[in-house]
Subunit: 667 residues, 2 copies
Amino acid sequence: RSINHRVDSRSLRLYRWYYSIFWQWTLVAVIGVILGLAFVEKPSSLSLSSDPHRRLRPWEPPCGATEGVEMVGLLLFALDLAVKGYLIGWEEFRKNKWLVAYVVVVSGSVIDLLLSVSMMCDESLRVRRVFRPFFLLQNSSLMKKTLKSIRRTLPEIASVILLLALHVCFFTMFGMLLFAKREKPEENGEWETYFRNLTVSLSSLLVLLTTANNPDVMIPAYTLNRLYSIFFVLFSVVGTYLMMNLITAIIYNQFRGYLLKSIQSSIMRRRLGIRAAFAVLCCRDRIQVQDQDQVRVQDQEKDQVQDQVQVKQHHVYEACKVTEGYVEGQAFLKLFEELEKDRIKEHPPMPEYSSRFMQTLQFLMSHYCFTMVGNVMAVANIICICCRKHTDHLLSERGSSSCLSPKAINVFFVTFYVVEMLLKMLALGFRRYLSYRSDVFDGFLTLSLLVGARSFLLVLQRRIRFCSIYTFCQKDFFNLREMMRLANMLIVFRFLRIIPNIKLMALVASTLMDLVKNLRAFAGILLVVYYVFAILGIWLFHGVIKVPANMRWVSTSSSLRFTENSRWDCGSYENLGYWPNNFDDFAASLVLLYNVMVVNNWQVFLEAYAKYTTEWSKVYFVSWWLISSVMWVNMFVALILENFTYKWDRSQGCSVTDVERIRYESS
Amino acid sequence: RSINHRVDSRSLRLYRWYYSIFWQWTLVAVIGVILGLAFVEKPSSLSLSSDPHRRLRPWEPPCGATEGVEMVGLLLFALDLAVKGYLIGWEEFRKNKWLVAYVVVVSGSVIDLLLSVSMMCDESLRVRRVFRPFFLLQNSSLMKKTLKSIRRTLPEIASVILLLALHVCFFTMFGMLLFAKREKPEENGEWETYFRNLTVSLSSLLVLLTTANNPDVMIPAYTLNRLYSIFFVLFSVVGTYLMMNLITAIIYNQFRGYLLKSIQSSIMRRRLGIRAAFAVLCCRDRIQVQDQDQVRVQDQEKDQVQDQVQVKQHHVYEACKVTEGYVEGQAFLKLFEELEKDRIKEHPPMPEYSSRFMQTLQFLMSHYCFTMVGNVMAVANIICICCRKHTDHLLSERGSSSCLSPKAINVFFVTFYVVEMLLKMLALGFRRYLSYRSDVFDGFLTLSLLVGARSFLLVLQRRIRFCSIYTFCQKDFFNLREMMRLANMLIVFRFLRIIPNIKLMALVASTLMDLVKNLRAFAGILLVVYYVFAILGIWLFHGVIKVPANMRWVSTSSSLRFTENSRWDCGSYENLGYWPNNFDDFAASLVLLYNVMVVNNWQVFLEAYAKYTTEWSKVYFVSWWLISSVMWVNMFVALILENFTYKWDRSQGCSVTDVERIRYESS
């Protein structure tokens, strides 16, 4: 954090309280609640389905409920702002654009809120909603930094997008000339469907750029003459493969070294902080001041470092005494490394048994083979379930319900898992057992399975008793199935334990895990963008898609749907049954935006909303596509590349300690 | 090239002949012809359309024609092999796996060819076709090197693909349990369509991994309960976004520095070669041997370098004399740089005019503004065409044919272009004009436009004369339109000239251009893969898709197609009219494979071929998807990343000479 803040004793206490874990988490929780309000507010997302055919009138909070919660949240933000402003002083406050924007957004939101309460929650447009994600952005320095580096790439990306636009325009012109209206009506397929006029041609080629209408767009022309395919292949190769990937390259080029630099700078800052603390410590030491001051200076460092530093305080203190207030750079670095190393926690030791038998058992349990046997059993179990599921409906159709064989298998496997767990606990000792996360995960699943199997057996016992009554058996069978379904899901989860045991896979999986950690800033920005676009979407397209009056079906069985659907064109929004993808509430909007981000079939939404509203709705979808799919997905790819190459370089050139640490972190 | 070859005088002459431009180009041409045979051979691709409804019986070469050509080609390959074998000697030959494979393939092909001739070209399976791309691979050392580095990445990619398979399996299991058969039939939509049994579930999730059935696969479940969407979103995010991009990262990590290293090593080899030549030169110089030897040693270097070296020979020779056979390393490097620099050719000088008027003209023509005016005119022309095309069908519907206004505009623009071209030629001088590639391109298009406009005017004159006869006007209008269509296409092409004038765009465009140069090895490998898969596809699926007897329509107008199509399911192969995408001939197979590579809607092909043949056909398509879309496209992305970052680093840290060279190369 910035060093610019008041340093008098009262302010420092306030500063300490402000950056305490409690207040920071309170802020995060408040932001979460404020953002989460979108799900509850009118239009509420609390219905089971978002399909207008099936949706009942969802529960909606009374006027004033969400507004009250929001008011409390905004007041807390105002408090936060006041404290921050007081701490850094007016001069700094004015320079910081983020804080100024914070003031504007909070005050604007309060005014908007008061307005909407005075209108009895009946206003059509709630502007403050769009600005809510700002609180999230404002609160995370990482996200602000990421935004900054995104802003740096923008000019280059703009040039590629310009080139892309030129490419699309060029091919549109060329395509319109190539597929102009012909004399023979049967040769007009391409013109009629995809190149009728400028806007149609542009949007079909824009969609082709995302490959979402790939074979379809060329079919009418390609049916006539196979050479026409060259036009489309050329367009896709240059546009999709060359230029789109060039955007990836540009973004990656900007983010190259981003991770390394940020880690370097964070370590540098930490070192500097500790060095400063150390200097203060030494000075104070000579003139015999109380410890209070030390702690105060320490508070300026990151909170997470603080605890460690305090643990190691006596080391520094000792070193200080020995060298009489003077420590060489080398020694300081050594001390620092000592401080770093301490972060590797060790597993609690195994209990030491005196009996010969227990020692052998302990040896066997810790052996690699034992883990392998466990894995083989998990795989075998999965294969059993697999085979059973595959033949399940065949069997049930034939009437032979095969009640007992799956049960026997299940009981066998559950017994094995329980025995394995107990043996492991015995051998490793309970505390060491708990220190391995994978073992805890296993144990939890095994216990759940055991509970499941017990009630399963109970049901089964009842069943065998009454098995002569066929009807009961039939009715109970479903309960049994539901239970087995749950048990099977648990077993499938248990199957995941084999991943860390395969070496190559462990590397890849740990990369993925690391990625998720580094992803927070990106995920936050994605959240912000999703939120803003969803709110805009609700505002623009709320309730636009009307269900035909005679189509209020309740059943979704395919035969009924088929007859209903046949009156729509193939591949249209209505025919594909995309009804639940709409902007009628917040949750549905999120799913729709996700579907557009994935890009496949997005032209269906484009066309549907152009039909129900105006052609200008395409602007909304295209800009969402540009931001989410072009920008964000490419940023994501860049991040993965960066993360992987960083990890790779590190694993190639790192010392033994590092390898140890990596191994520990991935276990 | 390898240094292992015979060095006696006769062999060296043979060696020199073998690596002459003539023989190497002959080999390339022969390989091209042999590969091109696939288009002509039975099943021949020489029909206008590949749609089985419209396809007439194509021309097929008589038995023996293609076989004869192939025989000649194979004999040439045998000759090539013999020369190569002789040159490098038996010991080396045996060690070289590529050459041994070459022998096997050539002899195998000859045997297969003889067999097929003896069977009167009636054999069902021509094995030799599959091995033809081997000749291409064998002939390019770059491709062999690329193959090697691909082979190095395979283990890591395999681990990710394993993880991916695990991911798909896990979600398949989970999905089958989640969307099991329910009691109520209307809740069975998801189970019925996508999770009926193991194979169906697996393939729907595999397709979802490529996002090709994205919103569709979740619709039945999502309609029931919006929480089901989490399952699909989670699957896509982990599978498509995380793991697929991890493959990109792994491949990129392998190819990182590939370009730099290959350029470094090629320069090193060149320097070494010249150094060796130089050493020989100096030694020979002392004992007075004729020049013959120098030339012979020089031949061992790359042919392209050779010419330069001979030009600069006297420099080296001089230096040699001065230092009496001893040159310091520094001086040698300086000489070498001199040698390098010479590659930048200069444009021929402008002619010098004595008259004041001509000098002013020359100044004006070379000025930046003049180019800008030209560009503005090109853009204006494009906008004119654009507007015209947009309102074209509206006008023609209203009956007001607006014959004259487009003509006037066209004549105006053509006149401007011609004047511009002549002025430029005058100012720059004819030779300098020709030395700019962009100007030559412009001039060519202008001339074509002029020719077009002349015939256009001729037609128009005739027309004005007979304009009272309305019917003629109507009939002629189409000729006019065709002509204008052509002219407009040329103008659109001319529009491309503005690209090098926009700075940012020029950088991006030059990156793209450079990329294409570096792409040859990758394109070659892609060609090989396409070829092999197309031949395999023809062999496996030739004529599998049968057109229903009552559906031999000729017209493709949409109304007729609609009635015909309504009897197929929406979104099926037949309904979408994907008929021309089949394996009935080589060209059609290539297009089909391309469409699968682009991935969108590939499940349609998967399902159609599974329906017409067996479920096992999916193996073919999935393996093609893995090789083309997963492996090759990712490799392509890696190459683009590599190329861009290389170019970026170079442009950041290069000297003035380099900038000069880059500017020259991009002009």
